[in-house]
Symmetry: C2
Subunit: 369 residues, 2 copies
Amino acid sequence: MVNLMETPALLLDEARMARNIERMQRRMDNLGVSFRPHVKTSKCLEVARRQLAAGAHGITVSTLKEAEEFFRAGVDDILYAVAIVPNKLDHALKLMRDGARLTLLVESVAMARQLAAHGAANGVCYPALIEIDTDGHRSGVKPDAPALLEIAAALQGGARLKGVMTHAGASYDLNTPEALAQMAEQERSRCVAAAERLRAAGHACEVVSVGSTPTALSARHLQGVTEVRAGVYVFFDLVMADVGVCTLDDIAISVLCTVIGHQQDKGWVITDGGWMAMSRDLGHQGHGYGQVCDIDGQPIPGLSFGKANQEHGVLQWTGEGDITQVFPVGRSLRVLPNHACATGAQHGQYHVIPQNGGDWTVWQRFSGW
Amino acid sequence: MVNLMETPALLLDEARMARNIERMQRRMDNLGVSFRPHVKTSKCLEVARRQLAAGAHGITVSTLKEAEEFFRAGVDDILYAVAIVPNKLDHALKLMRDGARLTLLVESVAMARQLAAHGAANGVCYPALIEIDTDGHRSGVKPDAPALLEIAAALQGGARLKGVMTHAGASYDLNTPEALAQMAEQERSRCVAAAERLRAAGHACEVVSVGSTPTALSARHLQGVTEVRAGVYVFFDLVMADVGVCTLDDIAISVLCTVIGHQQDKGWVITDGGWMAMSRDLGHQGHGYGQVCDIDGQPIPGLSFGKANQEHGVLQWTGEGDITQVFPVGRSLRVLPNHACATGAQHGQYHVIPQNGGDWTVWQRFSGW
């Protein structure tokens, strides 16, 4: 089937994706929390619809472009999970006026004040979460920082404090169940502590939102949390397999490419899947540009993908046999990605292998800001 | 002007680009060779039109999508510079039947035979170049390999040998004028040797096509060469500055981003320009995700860009002063890319700063296959 497709192309195994969606949603149901998938991974309406149909409430986005596209398609409960800045306020305002139930994120007093002023000047009230830093990996205010209460106090008039949000991205660097469970508990307890501090100061703080794929799949309980966010679980990838929250058999996307030549003396197989098709994301750096598999998705031992140009992949073969016979020009290969979000972003569509069999179909994905 | 733009956004300094185009074209004119720019860097009609208006003959493409888009816009002389494989033949055939003067690339006997058979079966004759390996960095046959004459012999019936082509990509790893001039001479002499061998065997071999930005800018003469190809010169980037063929002042594209927060204790400035806006290309790995500049494009000493998430850039500040005052939330920054082809590919349009002043304008770029 996929042999006739022009390459490189991004394949999506619908059965695997459905299993991943089901696994996460059941886990969230059992933990008694609402689930808000991060659609930055797929940027695809067909994928998000399946996440929502499985029981998710609302979506998380990484750009206002995502907010716009999903809102236009009928998803109105949207958390924009990157701290807002002045040059995006008019865009956010327009989305709200068009009817989107958009929640914004702030992590500084200065921006909380500007947000409130912009809302007041335009006759709207922006619901906002305060970003909490629970693991030191990126942005947000610490649960015990003086700024937490100052930001909350600044969210009045044209803005209102809706809750707190954190993302334990440091979980990507862990790889044992125990360390992941500890990180999940750290993420939960520190975010809940921030919420309790705000409540003690007289703020309602209805939302306590936490999450990353590894912590969502490792938390033992989520007391005090109202919702969890996760993105990459929908497809999984080699980084998540290294973290230990999936196996290679769970990875739902792969890049189909074709052998275009060889350098026999070096043991090189050249393909038409270069970094434009894979992205430059080297993940945890143990898999080169990805894990090379045969057309059925089975890893090929002895074949590694260490070098790439824009439209050329250079695979190293250490196995037996005449390389031009084992990997003849025209042979199809599939490559599992290091990072599903990065590899997906290089493509304008998914070629979907349907879970019920039959011909592949195409789902569009969008990009940009 | 650019302060009002939503970020992240890809900026293009038209004056710098015009200077880069002029520099390369004048050099090619002086060397007495035809110039065929590689449009994989810009994937933008407006850019290619300026390259052609300056004197270029035809274009080089890295995908049939590029061939299609440029042909539709009126550019019909197109070299597809990645070895052709069976699953792309119908697409190539359609382009030729629609009137494109498309030249294909082969580097194996097996594919030369399939190409000729496909052409014969469909009543067309595919013009083809044989890819020559002059530097061992990627694909192609060596000038003295037996395969060279076998491929040429196989190109008959539905295909015909038009010439030879090479790309000395190994030049990207050099950084002295002498080493670059030597690589340019190696690229020239080995490709010309392949052409002469083919001619001695009775083949016409009208085209001898060489090139990479570093070798094109370093060759001392190009005897026997009929055309040169180069791509990244049109924008340049930090890798090219490291190679030594441009300065930072020649780099025509940059990513505009905005400060969204801080981690004061760590000296971190957080921006909305993450790896989605920059790509994951770390270039020669000395510049992190890129060189951070102020809004006027001047590098900011003491500010480095070592860490990125999808929509977050994490900059490290080692300078003086209160970081929240030096880089307040909302401040605009511009980041020069490691690799213009990779960074450009993350964006759907250029925000062009016109060389004659006035408001910025938008040029579209396309992507995919």
